[in-house]
């Protein structure tokens, strides 16, 4: 009881020190809008538990810290954007924002940031929203620990969970995004870090890069999305320790690389995807120590690949390890472990003595004549694959792993 009284005392003392405004239904300030209107730059607004039916709450040029106690609900009533912010150093923490209206002409969001610096968006819950966080032309922010959930629907009438446009140095960390169009979307972003997020059941992509150079995403999980991650027209992307799972469907893939250069993929796990990596136009992309497990296709290269190397990866029980169109160029497959490898190792150096050809004749044929896929798992195909393995005629002769590993690579 003593502690309680002292806490109450302290809490009463605080506003006089830091400028604090409380919002609750019995309080003097009853709406968030009102609080923002009377607040000075640098003030903290504490929103008590309750339901606040407000939308178009704008913060212009005031550095405010908005904190929710026990997740107060901001209900936008399917109208418009809940928070619109154009100010530096803003913090929004612990709110539950729901019911953002859908629109075909405007991008309504739970929180819209425009031209802001040093913002923090932390531990919020978003439900039934159109866009979650829409960050435009902003620099240096943290988006952390939020839970975004929506019902999705179709691509045309749903928005993205975390949408970064023309922003840089943003850290997106430990968020959980579910049922949006794209879980996380970055366009014209620079130096952003996407860390340890879980993005699942999104209609289109778990994570989507467009024209965004020098970003990294590390330790994320992408599960059961239309497609796991799409990286398009970007340079210097670092992709590490991510888990791509269950992108399963006739047009699904774990990772799409489209016109990518100078990227590194390391220690990722691709599991149960129809196509694990779908690559179209990759230059200087390194695949090092990734696991490809139980996928339909592990790697599908559509052409335009240069200096792309696959080193020390594990290819485990995929229906097709590699499907390859176009010339081999200077791409290489070296020192990988292939569960389909049947060679031997006489000198016991743990490297197979017979080179491995990862492209099966059938996958080559299917690439040329997609209808041939109906013969999947027919005996004839097994026979043909076998004879092609013994003496290759059709499959690209240079596409060889000269150092296939005998044991699974541990990393």
């Amino acid at each position: 009881m003593k502690y309680f009284i002292s806490i109450i005392f302290l809490l009463n003392l605080l506003p006089t020190l830091a400028g604090e405004i409380r919002v609750c239904s019995p309080c003097e300030v009853k709406t968030v809008k009102q609080a923002i209107e009377i607040a000075q730059s640098g003030d903290t607004i504490i929103i008590e538990k309750g339901v606040y039916e407000e939308f178009n709450i704008n913060i212009i040029n005031k550095t405010l810290h908005i904190k929710g106690v026990d997740y107060p609900v901001i209900d936008a009533g399917m109208n418009g954007t809940a928070f619109g912010i154009k100010a530096n150093g803003v913090t929004i923490e612990g709110l539950k924002i729901i019911n953002i209206g859908r629109s075909y002409t405007k991008d309504f969001a739970a929180i819209l940031l425009n031209g802001s610096e040093n913002f923090t968006i932390k531990n919020n819950i978003l439900e039934n929203v159109f866009f979650g966080f829409l960050i435009e032309k902003s620099v240096k922010g943290v988006i952390e620990g939020n839970r975004i959930k929506s019902e999705g629907g179709e691509e045309a009438n749903s928005g993205n969970g975390i949408h970064l446009w023309s922003s840089s140095e943003i850290i997106v960390r430990n968020n959980h995004v579910q049922g949006m169009r794209d879980g996380i979307y970055i366009e014209f972003g620079k130096n952003c870090e996407i860390l340890n997020n879980l993005s699942e059941k999104n209609i289109r992509y778990g994570l989507h890069f467009m024209f965004s150079d020098r970003n990294s995403y590390i330790g994320n999980t992408f599960e059961d999305n239309g497609a796991g991650v799409a990286v398009m027209f970007s340079k210097f992307i670092e992709m590490k320790k991510n888990l791509f799972r269950k992108s399963w469907g006739s047009a699904s893939y774990g990772l799409l690389l489209k016109e990518i250069s100078d990227a590194t993929l390391e220690h990722n796990i691709f599991e149960d995807n129809t196509i694990a990596v779908n690559a179209d136009g990759t230059t200087r992309v390194l695949f090092i120590e990734n696991d490809f497990k139980n996928n339909g296709y592990a790697i599908k290269v559509h052409g335009g690949a240069y200096s792309t190397s696959f080193t020390r990866n594990n290819f485990l029980y995929n229906s097709f390890d590699v499907a390859y169109s176009g010339r081999l160029n200077d791409n290489s497959f070296t020192g990988n472990y292939w569960s389909d490898y049947t060679g031997y190792d006489l000198n016991k150096d743990k490297i197979g003595d017979v080179p491995f050809r990862p492209v099966k004749l059938f996958s080559y044929l299917v690439n040329k004549t997609p209808e041939a896929i109906v013969l999947l798992r027919s005996i004839f195909i097994d026979l043909v694959d076998f004879s092609e393995k013994v003496s290759p005629i059709f499959t690209p002769a240079e596409l060889i792993d000269h150092e296939p590993q005998m044991n699974r690579i541990k990393w």
Binding site: G249, S250, T369, P370, E371, V374, L376, I379, F380
Partner: protein, 260 residues
Amino acid sequence: MLKILKYSFFDLSRSLWSYVYFLFYLLLGIILLFLNNDLSNAVITLMNVIIILVPLIGTIFGVMYYYDSREFTELLLAQPIKRRTIFIGQYLGVAISLALSLILGLGIPFVAYGLFESAAIWNFFSLLVSGVFLTFIFTALAFNIALSHENKIKGFGLAILLWLFLAVVYDGIFLLILVYFQDYPLDKFALIASVLNPIDLSRILVLLKLDISALLGYTGAVFKLFFGTSQGVIISFGVLALWVVLPVYRIIRVSAKKDF
């Protein structure tokens, strides 16, 4: 006819080969389940085996049984029994005992493993149905060959050739056509060509039930659209049934006229 069927059936159930066949499937089922620990993977592996072995064993068993029981058949022919009754009874005896070996041999380990609580039950069921159909189809074809050829070697050779054609060569020709005519829209052709061959048809019926069907891509979507409709299901089972009915009809016709 029932009596003949019963005799054939009991005759076969006394034969060692039925038990070997049954034990083989029992062992296969047990090994697959305990090595895999995953029902749907086990179903895929099983499909590969069933599609190769069931037709082969149906053919060989059918031919073998016909040639083996020739003296007994001649004895029966001397009795006042309809020829149709004799041959259909024998055919059904062989086919049913083979189908039973398959169903029991695979069913027991799967039921013991907990099939009924698993979602894979329909996959497994469709596998068994196509297995049973394949047994009936290939036994009937084998009887046809044996009826038309007195020479055992010739009969065996033709039976093996038939199996080879439907299981392997057909797909080869199919693939060749697909590759040769790749500039044309081929999904309708692929659909028709795979419906016409009972082995291909059962393979696709099982594949479409499994997750792996997502691999089939656009062509798979066309197939799913077809086999998803009740019309598609009726057509595919109609074709399978036709593959049974036509050879059986020929057995009746040929045996009625044949000089023994």
